[in-house]
């Protein structure tokens, strides 16, 4: 049984060079790429997410851990493709029309990737029709909407309507500082998450 603890500690601490070296070492030992991904990198990212949720680590710590995870997954990617490993599902993520604040959205993307999703980053200030087009193009199972402002939050309703009208079979989840479960219920979105780590759990539950 390979020891993933050292890898996990390095990843949680955001040590890019160490993560690369340890992943290469494990691959050289013949450990399967998927095992390194699931038991090492994704598990470590899940722990970071939980600590973020508990207010034990903050945005910078999540960002450096996610960067280290990315360094590791890049090394694993060719092996994963060769082994035919698929992402859990595809999610399209963006901030809604009029909103340029993307820190929350970026954190959720990292957490989703850390939970095994393929993520299409639609960026900021995204129109409802663009969400629809991207979800159709990538056969997305999840569309995630972020808004920081009370004034841009109402755009979420338009996206939910556009997704439903176009018949896109994706689940819509929403989040952001002013957003609440009550608002989610009011606009008919499929789920609300108060923080990035919970967003990954929500996405998994929505497609289960």
């Amino acid at each position: 049984m390979p020891d993933f603890d050292v890898l996990k500690v390095a990843m949680k601490g955001g040590k890019v060079a160490d993560v690369r070296r340890l992943v290469e070492g494990l691959l050289a030992e013949g450990v399967a790429a998927q095992e390194i991904l699931n038991n090492g990198l994704l598990e470590a990212m899940g722990e970071v997410g939980q600590r973020f949720k508990r207010n034990e680590v903050f945005v910078p710590e999540v960002l450096v851990a996610a960067r280290a995870m990315k360094a590791g997954t890049e090394l694993l990617k060719p092996h994963l493709i060769q082994a035919g490993v698929q992402a859990v599902a595809t999610a399209v993520m963006g901030t809604v029309k009029g909103d340029l604040h993307d820190i929350g959205k970026n954190l959720v993307i990292m957490m989703l990737e850390g939970a095994g999703f393929a993520v299409v980053d639609a960026g900021v200030d995204v129109a409802p029709e663009k969400f629809v087009a991207l979800a159709q193009e990538h056969n997305a199972k999840i569309v995630g909407l972020s808004a920081l402002l009370t004034t841009t939050m109402p755009s979420m309703k338009g996206v939910v309507e556009a997704i439903r009208t176009a018949g896109v079979p994706a689940k819509v989840m929403i989040g952001g500082a002013p957003v609440t479960q009550a608002y989610c219920d009011a606009i008919g979105a499929d789920g609300y998450s108060p923080d990035a780590a919970s967003a990954a759990e929500l996405a998994k539950s929505l497609i289960a």
Partner: protein
């Protein structure tokens, strides 16, 4: 005492005859005069007009002259995206990807819209300065560094901490110049607004924030004026460190329990404020919701060193009558007492409470504890702890439910149980202990008696 004197007394952490009241009228002033945010924040005339209306309608003790955290960033070359109902957002960051500070334009108090801020300060000072304290708002050094660097800032705190410190230090020097200009224009209080600091750890706060905001607070103190630190977002982890900075006052939003802020501020002798619920109450609620939230804040805060204020910049669309309702609670102690009772009764009548129809039909004993909110009210918390300890020591089935009067459910439960004081313990629908927390033995005895009554009924 004038409103301004009450504000100053609160800022000195002294007793006040009523809470000081500072509605953070930024873009909301645009609504008051019927123009979009993009026009409002670019016109000294409009802002003076909006603030004048705010003074007349909201009867404040203090007002910010211009709530726009992008002012300095714009003057430093950041591109802005304008919107109808919000302050502009920064869309380009000149130091993104790690540029040199030397490449930035020299900071000029005449650049961009900065002169508007000082002009509005001067004009408002002449107009209402004798009665109303004026706040000059400065973008905090950490948040301004983020405007200049973009999200890179967070990663660079790990990769190149010295570079980040150089940028934040430069932003602090800008803050000192802004503070001086505001004070010369007549501002009474300089508020450093640094919302992005809610996203970092206490250790990083000490390293990347404290030394820099303290430069600004020191400069303000040297001139004998007041300073405040505003942080929006859930900054509860950093609250102790915020209290250790050199400002006179801490202001936070509804993410932090007001009781926690009150207790933490007192450890370092600071005054405190904020906490009115911006969206759920002021924006989306009605006048009674606003009155109740004001009463909640005033009751938790006590009468020393407190400034009632919304947690952050008031949304454009806040119905003015909601803020007038808050002003009424501030200025009229009698109305406040009346509203406590009448609104509670009115709202309770319309709400559904989580109480059983008949207690004698339950197989268990039910303990209903009516609290303000055990997370923010210390006596409520102790009472809840006492109940849980007593239940653990009692043989037989006992179920405990907390009803927070911060919720309509809690108000309805309070009404139905006939509870008049907080916190109160009810056992099987009967008021058992009011305000005083019973000792363990007494409470266990009462619970055991209730359990045996239940047994006898069956």
């Amino acid at each position: 005492m004038t409103g301004k004197e009450i504000l100053f007394a609160a800022l000195r952490n002294g007793l006040t005859p009523r809470p000081a009241w500072v509605p953070f009228v930024g873009v909301h002033g645009g609504r008051l005069v019927g123009v979009k945010a993009s026009e409002y924040l670019r016109s000294a005339d409009r802002m003076v007009e909006g603030l004048t209306q705010a003074v007349a309608r909201y009867r404040p003790d203090g007002l910010p002259v211009m709530f726009d955290l992008q002012l300095e960033a714009e003057a430093m070359g950041c591109g802005l995206a304008w919107a109808d109902e919000t302050p502009p957002a920064v869309k380009t960051h000149p130091l993104e990807g790690g540029g040199s500070l030397a490449a930035l334009p020299p900071f000029d108090l005449g650049a961009g819209r900065l002169p508007l801020a000082f002009e509005v300060t001067r004009r408002m000072k002449a107009q209402v300065g004798a009665e109303v304290g004026l706040y000059g708002l400065i973008c905090g050094p950490f948040t301004l560094a983020m405007h200049l660097m973009g999200n890179d800032l967070f990663m660079q705190m790990y990769d190149h901490p010295d570079y980040v410190k150089a940028v934040v230090g430069y932003c602090a020097s800008i803050g000192c110049k802004m503070a001086q200009a505001y004070l010369e224009a007549g501002a009474d209080v300089v508020a450093v607004v640094d919302p992005m600091t809610s996203q970092i750890s206490p250790e990083h706060f000490v390293e990347f924030v404290t030394p820099y905001v303290d430069q600004i607070f020191g400069a303000v103190r040297e001139r004998g004026r007041f300073s405040s630190l505003f942080v929006c977002g859930d900054a509860s982890r950093n609250l102790s460190e915020m209290a250790r900075t050199a400002c006179d006052n801490l202001s936070i939003d509804e993410n932090i329990p007001l009781g926690l802020l009150r207790d933490t501020s007192r450890t370092t002798g600071k005054s405190f404020g904020g906490n009115l619920k911006l969206t759920a109450v002021l924006l989306f609620g009605d006048e009674d919701d606003s009155r109740l939230d004001a009463i909640r804040c005033i009751d938790v805060a006590g009468s020393a060193g407190f400034i009632l204020a919304p947690g952050c910049d008031l949304p454009y669309g806040v119905p003015p009558q909601n803020l007038e309702a808050v002003a009424e609670m501030v200025h009229d102690g009698y109305r406040r007492e009346v509203c406590k009772r009448t609104i509670i009764v009115k709202q309770a009548a319309a709400a559904v409470c989580d109480l059983p129809e008949r207690y004698d039909a339950l197989a268990h004993v039910q303990v209903d504890v009516i609290t303000l909110d055990s997370a923010s009210c210390a006596p409520c918390q102790y009472m809840m702890d006492a109940v849980h300890r007593a239940v653990a020591a009692t043989g037989g089935p006992v179920v405990v439910k907390e009803h927070r009067i911060a919720t309509r459910e809690g108000l309805a439960a309070m009404q139905r149980l006939g509870v008049r004081n907080l916190p109160t313990i009810c056992i099987d629908g009967e008021v058992a202990f009011v305000s005083l927390i019973p000792d363990l033995r007494t409470l266990v005895a009462r619970l055991e008696a209730a359990v045996s009554r239940k047994g006898a009924q069956r």
